[in-house]
Symmetry: C2
Subunit: 705 residues, 2 copies
């Protein structure tokens, strides 16, 4: 077992001198820390290509490699638990799928030397992962063995993912490159929020999302289970919650238990959110007596902020919540429960004489004061079930117990103010996946904002962050392309050292990770492809595929306003089958930069890309003539070949050195401006306009040279 | 409600004169029966394109159409059951996804006229579908209304699928063409067999397969739950069955109940198969005392026929089976239970002195006689639970109760002999999906074989048939492409009139159905696409996609022999990501035929296809250099561009009329022969060789003209 007394996280985070490591290795480690500063490069003929994501804290590449073939054997610590054994079996299955090798699934007999050894102390009987567990691990690969060691099982699970990411083809087979990795996360809370409240996400969606999370070492599923638009979990004590509040679409308790167990097996905590006192219409359909207005209520199909709110002045409300949380506490072993708390507008409260009287009697001048009172009572209920409370920014108040964790979604001042009041915090605002932030924007946003002016003590209160995938515009068919691969960039931000900020290298590795996630079963590639086939009405949809590659969805707010979406809106348009920050966006940037540097291969590739736009446009129009939904996207369709011609012309001026005629640049600029206009009926934007503008400007300059 | 006393099936099957239909309509029907004989053609500007699959018994196209937009309302029979109401909601969801319309999900208030009316008598409280239910329906669409009427709910469910298949784009939106359809199936038992025994199929696979089955009106899921390689269902009375016989991969009883309910909601029966006395190794791991040899046993990973067999001479075996079937009868409401019965080699029996003594004492000279005894006892047990028995060919014996249904998998003589003995039968041999029969071969094989020489009475005993997807070489990732869309062609054979034998029209409709199944969520397109991306190691896998399009997997037997597969073999090679009877196979035939007729568009398309093979080959080789598994397919890869050049040359001779040089045809023939050679390490075959040979021969003839 590992003989080092201190967790890697502590060691690596504070850069203490490494102890009990031999001198040569220590030197190598010092040179290699942090891994992000320099891509671990091939040494002595080793073919190691680092596509690890998230980047480990330290990676030391070594000569040689370990071949993966049918002879691979493995061994586990003698006292391994079912969780570790099952994790190892999943590792073998995935190794087998990656390499085609036929691997023995039984561990090597005790005493026989195995190719792969995995050592971690068995977890306690209670196998639920918990905040702050030691997730560090050491992975060593040489020409004969791979060894994975950790202080806790969850660290071994993290290391298995790293090991799988190391697999690469070499010499006609597959190998693990020889390497020494010491790794531990920067933040202990690395979450992804899913919102089945607005559009239900059946269990298979949750399962494949958990697989993706595990692959990139995210460790918290924040499950937003209740919303105005739906109450998505079975209560047996209050069955009218799901019977009347869900349209029949909810998770049974058995499904919840299965999902929680599936997550736990992957070292992922599940934190349920029951949003209150607002965003609670669905509760009130079956139990109108909980509301602040008399009702009756029906499930809300419109999005946005609604007036419905739990009644915070009746003891019956708290008795109900006490019973309810008691039931939920049985389903969710995690110590944390999220109570939402966002966007409660107070209108129903002010309109209710009993509530108004209560406020007056208690000297409350504003509804936020009343919400603070509500939060305090709810927190006490949760405490009875040994649960700690999490809430969005709005729960922050001077009377709130410092034990409550604040999840930021507004500007970072809430996080900062929270930290100043001693609250631990989660940073989410910059990680909203329903906004079309690029992977590099998501990646560069730090959970400890540089401008936050926190003391080191306050900064330590930041537990990490969460990527948030709100549910207004997603369906089981489309959600993956909104989450992946961008959430992997967020995962790296949460896990890897703060100095890891090389976006070019991140994109290179993200491309590899995207394909690995696809292999794991996420549908961020196959889902949009299916959507495009359906829009085209044929498998021969190459023209549409080329078109979709240069587009991305407008962001949440723009779509909401332009399409007037509600829960009833069909999510079957082109916007639903194009990808945020599609691979071509960044590739195109690189190609244009390369072309402007005179790289002839890039110029050739660009030209052929531009030609493909021009050539495919007539076929696209033909498809659109038979596809009413595709037909809607008329101005983007007609601009597309024009952008292609623009690119071809610009390249030709650049190549010849001839000046474009007077007015050429103005005409192109006008076209670029037209192509950048919002098109409310179309809901998609071009992702190639910036670099195109650069290309045009450079072509124009060629006349002055 | 429908006022006609007789079921359509009877009427249509025996061609009785149509009653109580007005004269004009009767004439139209007479002209239109059967629908397959003539594609219902556009009349009076109606744009109806018939892509229905299976073809209805009668389709009468009418002028006009019904627009589908947000205003669409619907109404159900006043006494509708939950099954019908939920079916209608699914219909609306799917209509919405297809058209982008925002449809009201509440039925129109009583008395208000609705756009779509669905009428069927409510089924009894027991909503399980049963063999022989009336599945007929009448669908009428005019410019203002669509009306679906049926004698039973299950007929309405079938009609809803037809209605969805009618949806088509027109005039910038979506419509249902005006039409009168009377429809009923030719056979009452239209099954698909799945084999999770050899490779487990998690519930999501079963769910999406049931959706696909419902779409093409298949009505029996034959679920092969136990095999030498795995016992896949939870028994609570004998838990060691799944605990020791499944490697942890089995359906819980709750999952089984959910799946049976999901199937029932779609009018699909679930017939479980518990294969015995052979194919039973997995039973014996936990309960070796059931076996005919002392054991111990372990789960069998090798495929094929094994010796393990239940002990047919001990009363304890029958007591076990009695208890077991009693438990299973609670889970499976269907009247039929399949007991397998195939491939029991008798070796363990003859080697066991007690069994041998029993045979001698009862004058049994062969093990099939003992198996007949076993079958008779098992049948009596099933009868106690009000179940009727189904078995494979081998259960047929002179002592077998005529109540037992024989499922044919050998030559059709078993079916014929069974019918002659009064057994009802199912035809499966020609519908094995793990053999690479083309869709047209599957489609043309009739469950009442023309050469069977059955009396009309005997022919009536044939209940229908089943497409069978055995599990040796499939995984959740690959199974869909083996089943779909070919099983849709089988479904049409089982549903549509016998005279429906136009393979060209079938392929045209199959192409449309394939895309609709893709929309429903089957992964026959997206699964292979994902596999190719993974093999290529990039999303830019166009060269591999072009290559895969001209290939299909070798059939089950060839792969088994060439790769020496077992349950442990990784199913991640190119063979797993190419499709049986891929779309290009038939398209290529048509293109070559068109080219030989001098069709210039076809010649152009062919030439560009051939060029794409030549052009993509270097890129394919580059991909293969980094992909050990792709690299294995070396001779097919090197032959591919040669086939392209061959095609280009042949077209050029054809076009110019110039004679090819002496020896040209011989060289091409040699190359074609080489490309047709089995390649044991590659496991894929070209699907373009026949038409290419035709093209070469025609080019060669051009010199003699």
């Amino acid at each position: 077992m590992i003989d080092r007394p201190q967790s890697f996280r502590r060691i690596l985070a504070v850069h203490l001198p490494l102890q009990r490591i031999d001198a040569a290795l220590a030197l190598a480690l010092l040179l290699a820390v942090p891994a992000c500063a320099q891509q671990a490069s091939p040494a002595d003929g080793n073919e190691f290509v680092n596509t690890l994501m998230p980047l480990p804290a330290t990676v030391v590449s070594k000569p040689g490699n370990l071949r993966i073939d049918n002879s691979l054997s493995y061994a586990l610590s003698g006292d391994s638990s079912p969780r570790l054994r099952q994790g190892a079996l999943r590792l073998l299955d995935r190794l087998q799928m990656r390499t085609g090798a036929e691997l023995a699934k039984e561990p090597a007999p005790q005493g026989r030397e195995a190719t792969l050894t995995i050592e971690a102390p068995a977890s306690s009987a209670e196998a639920s992962p918990a905040l702050g567990e030691d997730e560090s691990y050491i992975l060593d690969v040489d020409e004969h063995h791979a060894s994975l060691r950790a202080h806790a099982e969850v660290g071994a699970l993290r290391g298995m993912e790293t090991l799988l990411q190391l697999v690469q083809p070499s010499g006609g087979g597959f190998i693990l490159p020889a390497v020494h990795i010491e790794d531990a996360p920067r933040f202990p809370w690395r979450g992804l929020m899913l919102d089945p409240g607005r559009h239900f996400l059946p269990p298979p969606v949750i399962y494949r999302t958990l697989d993706g999370m595990a692959a990139v070492k995210l460790n918290v599923l924040h499950w937003h289970l209740t919303e105005d638009q739906g109450f998505r979990i079975e209560s047996r004590v209050f069955p009218k919650l799901q019977q009347q509040g869900s349209g029949g679409l909810y998770y049974t308790q058995q499904q919840v238990r299965d999902i929680v167990a599936y997550a736990a097996a992957r070292g992922i905590r599940v934190v349920p959110e029951f949003d209150m006192p607002g965003h609670s219409t669905s509760w009130l359909v079956g139990y109108p007596e909980l509301g602040s207005a008399p009702g009756p209520y029906s499930v809300e199909h419109e999005f946005g902020v609604h007036d419905a709110a739990l009644n915070p002045v009746e003891d019956s409300t708290y008795r109900f919540l006490d019973t309810f949380f008691g039931e939920m506490a049985q389903l969710f072993p995690d110590e944390y429960v999220h109570i939402g708390g966002d966007e409660s507008n107070g209108k129903q409260w002010l309109a209710n004489p009993r509530i108004k009287a209560f406020m007056d009697a208690h000297g409350m001048k504003t509804t936020p004061e009343l919400q603070a009172y509500f939060n305090t009572r709810v927190q006490k209920i949760l405490a009875r079930y040994h649960k700690r409370m999490v809430g969005w920014d709005e729960v922050l108040s001077s009377t709130l117990s410092p034990d409550v964790v604040i999840q930021n979604w507004h500007g970072s001042e809430f996080l900062v103010n929270g930290a100043k009041q001693g609250h631990r915090g989660l940073f989410s605002g910059p990680y909203y996946l329903d906004y079309t932030y690029t992977a590099s924007q998501l990646f560069l946003a730090d959970p400890v904002p540089a401008d936050a002016a926190l003391t080191p003590e306050q900064a330590k209160l930041i537990l990490g962050g969460e990527a948030c995938q709100w549910g207004e515009h997603i369906s089981p068919q489309t959600i993956d392309s909104r989450i992946w691969p961008r959430a992997a960039a967020v995962a790296e931000r949460f896990w890897s050292p703060a100095a890891d900020r090389d976006t070019e290298d991140m994109y290179r590795r993200l491309q590899a990770e995207s394909l690995r996630l696809d292999e794991e079963g996420t549908t961020h590639i196959s889902g949009p492809e299916r959507g495009l086939r359906q829009l085209a009405g044929t498998e021969q949809d190459r023209a549409l595929t080329l078109f979709a590659a240069v587009l991305q969805p407008v962001n949440f707010g723009a779509r909401y306003q332009q399409q007037h979406t509600s829960q009833l809106t069909a999510l079957d348009r082109l916007v639903d089958s194009v990808r945020p920050d599609p691979p071509l966006r960044h590739e195109f940037e690189l190609l244009v930069d390369g072309a402007l540097r005179g790289n002839s291969a890039d110029i050739e590739r660009l030209e052929s890309l531009f030609r493909s736009w021009v050539d495919a446009a007539p076929e696209l129009d033909r498809l659109a003539a038979n596809s009413p939904l595709l037909n809607e996207v008329s101005s983007r369709r007609s601009d597309w070949p024009k952008l292609g011609s623009m690119g071809i012309e610009a390249l030709s001026y650049l190549r010849s050195g001839n000046a474009p005629p007077a007015g050429w640049q103005d005409a192109q600029t006008a076209l670029l401006r037209e192509a950048a206009e919002p098109r409310p009926g179309e809901l998609v934007d071009f992702v190639v306009l910036g670099p195109l503008e650069k290309l045009v400007a450079a072509a124009n300059r060629s006349k002055t040279q």
